[in-house]
């Protein structure tokens, strides 16, 4: 290839990061469209919603507390682990901190993969491990 041809060829767009972690204040906003992931045949999205009832008591909100930056670092480490173990294409994690009212979204996991089974397995593994290893706590704010 000549030097002139090199200059005329547009540089390829940078690939989106395969792992994105966000720990944000308050309830999560509505899910934005995930950037197209090349070769993806499956997109699994799990949203955790604050339940309005817990053990028969009405809940107004949950207060989330995160030990940062360790919580974000643990989420990233876990996302990268499931990304590689299951051969995924992309993982995006959003988690709330602070107060999230009942009915609102406090956690969102999106996984893109070539096929469905690995995305579903990875989602289950991610959530189970998060609930054991990521320093985030929730406290119920009861309505009455």
């Amino acid at each position: 290839m000549t030097q002139a041809a090199n200059q005329l060829t547009p540089a390829p767009a940078p690939a989106p990061a395969p792992v994105i972690i966000d720990v944000v204040d308050g309830p999560l906003p509505g899910a934005s469209a995930l950037a197209p992931v090349e070769n993806a045949g499956a997109l699994v999205c799990f949203e955790g919603i604050v339940r309005p009832l817990e053990d028969g008591r009405r809940i107004a909100a949950l207060d989330y507390e995160a030990y940062q930056p360790m919580a974000g670092a643990q989420l990233r480490r876990l996302a990268e682990r499931v990304l590689h173990r299951h051969g995924l294409l992309a993982v995006r994690v959003e988690h709330s901190r602070g107060r999230v009212p009942a009915g609102a979204c406090s956690f969102r996991l999106r996984i893109a993969s070539r096929h469905r089974p690995e995305a579903l397995r990875a989602a289950e593994e991610f959530i189970d491990t998060m609930k054991r290893d990521v320093p985030i706590w929730k406290t119920a704010v009861f309505a009455e």
Partner: protein, 82 residues
């Protein structure tokens, strides 16, 4: 050596405090020594400590890991993200 342990969530509620300061004896105290000292300093955490881990400088630490002056130490107990 004095160590201040950060507390979160249910552990903070039980202890009634966001942190507990303990004194560790010996030249090279470990997280195991800290667990014992914390049980004495905050008896309300007695049933929590056996199923808790420590984070030292933002990383999980094992019972045999040493503690040094100035380390940031947190009790990671009963996490409940999601």
């Amino acid at each position: 050596m004095q160590v201040t342990v950060k507390l979160f969530g249910p552990a903070a509620q039980r202890a009634g405090s966001r942190e507990v300061r303990v004194t560790l004896d010996g030249e090279r105290p470990t997280c195991q020594d800290l667990r014992a000292a914390l049980a004495r300093a905050a008896p309300a955490l007695g049933d929590v400590l056996p199923v808790s881990r420590f984070a030292v400088n933002q990383e999980f630490a094992g019972d045999d890991d040493p503690l040094r002056t100035g380390d940031e130490v947190a009790l990671i107990a009963m996490v409940s993200g999601g």
